[in-house]
Amino acid sequence: MRATTLIVAVALALATTAARAQAQLPAPTTPDDSTAVRPPETLEDLIQRVRVLERKLELKQEEDAARAKAAPAIVVAGDGVAFRAADGSFQLRLRGYVQDDARMYQGVAHPGTSAFLLRRVRPILEATALQRYTLRIMPDFGNGQTVLYDAYVEAAFLPQLGLRFGKFKPPVGLERLQSATNLMFVERALPTALVPNRDLGVQLQGVVGGGLLSYALGVFNGVNDGGMADTDTDNAKEVAARLFAQPFQASESDALRRLGFGVAATRGAVHGTLTSVSLPSYSSPGQLAFFRYRADGKATGTAIASGDHVRLAPQGWYYRGPLSVLGEYVISRQAVALDTASATLRNRAWQVAAAYAVTGEDAGAKGIRPRSVFDPAKGSWGAIELTARVHQLRLDDDAFPRFADPTASARSARAWAAGLNWYLNPNVKLVLDYERTRFAGGAKTGDRAPERALFSRIQFAF
């Protein structure tokens, strides 16, 4: 109404001015032979002018609305920023997370260095074309290094059939497959040391039965236990497969609905050389190596991978209300040689971890989402989760002493941990863990000193 009044006033002013000008100027001519002279402004002329102005405003509004509809959408939300084409055919999404840790070892004679560290600094770029083809790129700038973790293209033809190729997590370790933002503890447990971290390859994947069963089957270059690489050193490839079932997901009973279990396996062949031994080392929860194969740079003193490498990883999780339970077992069986000696070594690890959200939030594989955000002024504290786990990694006895030095490498590591996760809001999470790890062997006399470490983390993820 106010706009119309304004338009009328403007139109009247314009009309008055035009009428005055009209009286002073000769009438315009046209190429036609008409000799008509423009008549003076009448009330009808003024009404027409107002109508024209109103119509132009109307058309401008329609045009603006159409332009807004055709314009790309920018969506800013707690889980990132998305730029979306007007027709939805293309989307670019920017996400990321930073984990700022403090790792404090207890005990004066401990070999580790207590320090603050940027554990992970990972921007994530995801592009999706036609809701079907996705590109994901995720580098990591943590620990003072730049490493490309994910770079893959995924084509999702059907829920039951997708294809992924590039560099990504092979489908093996249960905790490894969880995002680093959703872990129960600051560091993953010991079974993760036996499964691949990232590898280059191609993978068929899908979900059948409406989520009843998920599968993945891939061919990869093959990497060491816990390792990742951007190149391959031999022509042999590694096959990885995983089946994971949630048989009760349609059940009305909450008791078993979120029970999932499955098994993963890899099979490949690796042949190392003196310059590239293709064997792993294993680290404690405090990220200190407690086992290394012998390697003095000479053929008589350096163990190398010498053939088959097979992993088997049964696994499962269970969620009910605020309770989370996760368990996995991994066997990594690898042929190893040193000079004229050879053996197939079976290294094993397992873990059982549990968490409970004391503030009552539902738990899931993607962590918990706090019901309230931390705001002391309003008396809300976010979500609090208590955590505990036990885990172990045991090396094959046959590794000692021929392939590993028993005075420098431990035969096993067994740890327990307890912690607290505090979700200030969906983006910010604080973690505090205490973890104690005991070793068997690994010292000149007796056992390597236990590792007692306090971990804390401030995580911002979007």
């Binding site: 009438a27 315009p28 046209t30 190429p31 036609d32 032979d33 008409s34 008509a36 002279v37 423009r38 008549p39 027409q48 109508r51 024209v52 109103e54 119509r55 132009k56 109307e58 058309l59 045009e63």
Partner: protein, 337 residues
């Protein structure tokens, strides 16, 4: 259990009379006709008539879905993947785009049906307010000072391109083929256009609903429809001395119809437009019929005027490039106010 089911199926098959499968009614079929704005009512009636005809002829039920919008925009939608079995658009230029840019039809599409694949025609006329207060009789009156003209933007509206070329053709005749003067004439006409709508329906809104302007240049069929349905005696049609023969073309979209297996029925759908019933329906919706007998029946509705056609401009491709492409004559002669 499985054996029981197989046995039951075998018994059922044996019980059927020989050739029963062959005698089953043909499968129902759905066609999509992508058309332009003013044909909505025409095709509602025509589709029902064709469905009756086809059912009686073949026993097959057919449902024809309609899509309407600006002619150029509709062509782009088909090129972008809209699964049109047939298109019935405002300009041959828009159908050409299906051949040139979409490669959905052959380039000679216009020769596949009679009369340049235009089963009905129309022309461009003037709609004025009751009593014709500005005494508008011909194109020359549209450039008089004080005459307010409503026509859409020829850059965005197929109908407006017909309007523009009709005015241009008049001016060429008036000024002895002098293109410079024709350009000045059309420029003067567009100086009298207070609002440039993007499409024909928008222009009708401007003129009829918003009460803007003294005269609207429009399709004859739209003007007659406005007289009948919206005007209620408030408007008059003025036939100019000369105008353009507008030939809205139709064609099967080969690639879609072949893929969907609808080509025979799509072709029959368009052929039936040339039948007596199809022509009568077109005429009753104010499109000029091609069939002489039907034209005679509706002669009083369509006054005879001198008509020229698009060939005078070298065809649509040439006209589009010369007048309406970016940097063309229209861009030079029209200054937005």
């Amino acid at each position: 259990m499985r054996r029981s089911i197989v046995a039951a199926l075998a018994a059922l098959t044996a019980a059927l009379p020989p050739g029963a499968a062959a005698q089953q009614a043909p499968k129902d079929v759905v066609l999509l006709n992508v058309s332009y704005d003013p044909t909505r009512e025409l095709y509602q009636d025509y589709n029902a008539a064709f469905a009756r005809y086809w059912k009686a002829k073949t026993g097959q039920s057919v449902t024809i879905r309609q899509s309407h919008g600006g002619s150029g925009k509709q062509a782009r939608s088909v090129i972008d993947g809209l699964q049109a079995d047939v298109v019935t658009l405002a300009l041959a230029y828009d159908v050409d785009a299906l051949a040139e840019r979409g490669r959905l039809i052959p380039r000679n599409w216009q020769t596949r049906l009679p009369d340049n694949s235009a089963p009905y025609t129309s022309t461009i006329v003037f709609l004025v307010r009751k009593g014709n207060p500005k005494r508008i009789r011909d194109w020359g009156d549209l450039v008089r000072p004080g005459v307010s003209v409503v026509t859409p933007n020829p850059k965005t509206s197929g109908g407006a391109r017909w309007n523009y070329l009709a005015a241009w053709g008049y001016a060429l005749r008036k000024f002895g083929g002098d293109e410079g003067k024709a350009q000045q004439f059309v420029a003067a006409l567009f100086r009298n256009v207070p609002v440039l709508d993007s499409g024909a329906r928008g222009a009708t809104t401007t003129f009829i609903e918003r009460g803007i302007g003294d005269v609207m240049i429009n399709w004859e069929n739209e003007a007659l429809l406005a007289m009948q349905e919206m005007g209620k005696g408030q408007y008059e049609i003025v036939m100019p001395s000369v105008s353009i023969l507008a030939e809205p073309p139709v064609t099967v979209v080969d690639r879609v119809a072949n893929k969907r297996g609808t080509r025979p029925i799509a072709e029959a759908y368009l052929h039936y437009l040339y039948s007596e019933e199809g022509q009568t329906i077109a005429a009753s919706h104010f499109y000029r019929p091609r069939m002489a007998s039907v034209a005679a029946k509706f002669a009083s509705r369509f006054p005879r005027i001198q008509l020229f056609d698009i060939r005078e401009f070298g065809g649509w491709q040439v006209a589009q490039k010369k007048h309406f492409d970016d940097g063309g004559i229209f861009d030079r002669l029209y200054q937005p106010r």
